[in-house]
């Protein structure tokens, strides 16, 4: 049995997260897209139990380590941290995270004032 010819792996992975986001209501579509992108592309490190969250717990005030709960993030800061890397976080390249997706993520996190 041969299955799954020529499937873009990244889009396959993204589907469940988008489905979850689409079920939300009360937020703007762009913000929902940013949330889905964040969870898909950054969640491995920056959700509750991620390595990035653990590292940040040692550096930021209580309750601020999860980026989705962080106050005062700006989209410019997010963009710079992602493209340049920060601390022990490697840079994420445009080829792996296109500018349009990063813009959505940065807007989503930057909206959590």
């Amino acid at each position: 049995m041969r299955i799954a010819h020529a499937i873009a792996a990244v889009s396959l992975v993204a589907l469940p997260a988008l489905a979850v986001a689409a079920s939300d209501t009360g937020t703007a579509p762009a913000e929902r897209a940013g949330e889905a992108q964040f969870r898909e592309r950054c969640g491995g490190c920056h959700l509750a139990d991620g390595f990035g969250t653990r590292v940040l717990e040692r550096r930021v005030p209580d309750g601020q380590a999860e980026l989705e709960r962080r106050a005062g993030l700006t989209s410019q800061y997010i963009t710079l941290a992602v493209r340049r890397g920060i601390g022990s976080m490697p840079a994420i390249r445009e080829a792996e995270l296109p500018d349009e997706e990063l813009t959505e993520i940065a807007a989503y996190l930057g909206a959590n004032k």
Binding site: M1, I3, A4, V10, R84, G87, P90, A91, R93, A95
Partner: protein, 514 residues
């Protein structure tokens, strides 16, 4: 060494943009910074590329390679660029343009009956995992400690995982390669038009070349066949925490016959106490002083964490009746040789995968770089040891002593192959501490030298030390180096592909260096 002018590079990048579009060519400061070594033990700008190009198809790779040849511009191919501790995405030298294959991320074929996949280089372990699980495909991948990287890139670098298919390079079956003249080569049975066994029979007819494209710069791999393990019915995990440092040799000698006769097909990894502690939190929660942690502090921390000086698990995969027999063989082999017994657990098909021995997506292993705080990084020194308790002990005590003399905690472990041990150690450092960086660099060179004096060679190394390690493989006045150079000059006469990779320099750069 070649050094193209800015104008020459711009011309080449413009030509690349004609193939992939300007959106997929990167040459500004931010674009270049993304290819820096994220864990650089020196200024990462000293081995940053001139730019990057990211093709989406093999045809685009071919076109770029041809153009690179015309412009005399060397390319540095990467799959996903997550080779952390070994240089990450970064090239060996300034002056190259990255050939970033991350957009070539298709899983081209999964054959459940025959147990293989055919992948492009941009497919990550996470992608493959989700593809298999989401589509309920009863095949398991093997993966290294973190799953961010490329399946293809990891296998080509001879990375290791922890299932019976954990020697990844040995599970590669059939490559598609773009050669330096921009043509396509298929290895093994793939050389036969219409072959039905490209991903089944690894050798083909005549010389087998898959291995020649691993850790090399002879071509650019654009497709790779990889055998996957059928999902087992049952797994049994036997975990052990050895309470004494000196328990290591006996445990290794107890495991060896089980690996040789196939009782244990997976690759147990004996991780030391610092490896266990660093996965739990920063060093500052135990110790704030300079230098390596004192023995009494380390012992207190170990007991507090409830771990051993060496921690490992033997995992068995397959039929539960066979696993039960083999588990008894494992228990018997260790009984009386070490002062503790195994803690055991089982997994059965249908239960949640976590804890089964099937690798699930995780970046948790990267957290150890925060051991010292600051801008955490690690530099990985990976000598191979004979599968012998005495030899591993000698290697461990030698390497640990050198780590501690240089002011570092020894972080390491021995991962068991069938007849060897990969001794994977990490110098964990704060990149913002210049003095620490210098100590780490000096230590790394000393480790290479002392290892070679003892007959221990590295299986893989950081980009910056390719030449030093390659020189230790110098039998018969560097016969292997000269052979590699002869092949390089024949298949890539312009020196376009990854000059200096694994210490293999094309003639144009050798003459420039002389």
């Amino acid at each position: 060494m070649r050094e193209l002018s800015a104008v020459q590079v711009e011309r080449a990048l413009a030509a690349f943009a004609g193939v992939v579009g300007t959106a997929n060519v990167y040459s500004d400061a931010i674009g270049r910074a993304g290819y820096r070594d994220a864990m650089a033990p020196v200024d990462p700008a000293t081995y940053e590329p001139r730019g990057a190009v990211a093709p989406a198809s093999v045809e685009e790779v071919q076109a770029i390679v041809r153009l690179a040849g015309e412009h005399g511009l060397p390319l540095w191919p990467i799959s996903r660029g997550k080779n952390f501790g070994y240089g990450g995405a970064a090239p060996r030298i300034l002056g190259v343009v990255m050939l970033d294959l991350v957009r070539m991320n298709r899983i081209l074929e999964v054959d459940v009956e025959q147990g293989y996949v055919l992948l492009e280089p941009g497919v990550g372990f996470d992608d493959l995992y989700h593809h298999l699980v989401d589509n309920k495909i009863p095949l398991w991948m093997s993966a290294p400690a973190h799953t961010w990287g490329s399946v293809v890139g990891n296998a080509l670098e001879r990375g290791v995982g922890y299932t019976p298919y954990g020697e990844h390079a040995s599970k590669v079956c059939g490559l598609e390669v773009v050669t330096a003249d921009g043509s396509i080569l298929r290895t093994g049975m793939g050389a036969m038009p219409g072959s039905k066994t490209w991903q089944l029979f690894p050798y083909g007819f005549g010389p087998a070349w898959d291995g020649a494209f691993m850790q090399s710069n002879f071509g650019i791999v654009t497709k790779m066949g990889l055998w996957l393990m059928p999902e087992p019915e049952n797994t049994v995990e036997l975990r052990m925490a050895l309470p004494n440092v000196e328990d290591l040799p006996a445990a290794i000698d107890a495991l060896r016959p089980l690996k040789l006769d196939g009782t244990v097909a997976a690759n147990p990894s004996f991780g030391n106490v610092i490896r266990g502690l660093a996965s739990r939190g920063p060093r500052s929660q135990y110790y704030d002083g300079e230098g390596p942690m004192p023995p009494d502090v380390l012992e207190r921390a170990r007991k507090e964490a409830g771990i051993g000086h060496w921690n490992f698990s033997v995992r068995l995969f397959g039929d539960p009746r066979v696993n039960a027999i083999n588990a008894e063989r494992v228990r018997s082999a260790f009984a009386g040789k070490v002062p503790v017994e195994f803690t055991e657990s089982q997994w059965n098909r249908g239960n949640p995968l976590r804890g089964s021995g099937s690798p699930t997506p995780s970046l948790g292993a990267l957290g150890v770089v925060d051991w010292l705080g600051g801008a955490g990084a690690h530099l990985t020194f990976s000598p191979v040891s004979a599968f012998s308790g005495a030899e591993a002990w000698k290697q461990y005590t030698t390497v640990r002593g050198m780590f501690e003399d240089a002011g570092f905690d020894y972080y390491g472990g021995f991962t068991a192959g069938q007849r060897y041990l990969n001794h994977i150690t990490m110098i964990i450092l704060d990149r913002n501490d210049e003095g620490m960086r210098e100590r780490a660099n000096t230590l790394f060179s000393n480790l290479i030298r002392v290892a070679a004096e003892n007959g221990w060679g590295e299986y893989r190394t950081h980009t910056l030390w390719y030449d030093e390690v390659a020189q230790t493989y110098g039998y018969n006045d560097g016969a292997l180096r000269r052979w590699n150079e002869a092949v390089k000059d024949a298949v890539d006469p312009k020196g376009i592909i990854a000059p200096g990779k694994m210490g293999i320099w094309p003639r144009v750069d050798r003459e420039g260096k002389a």
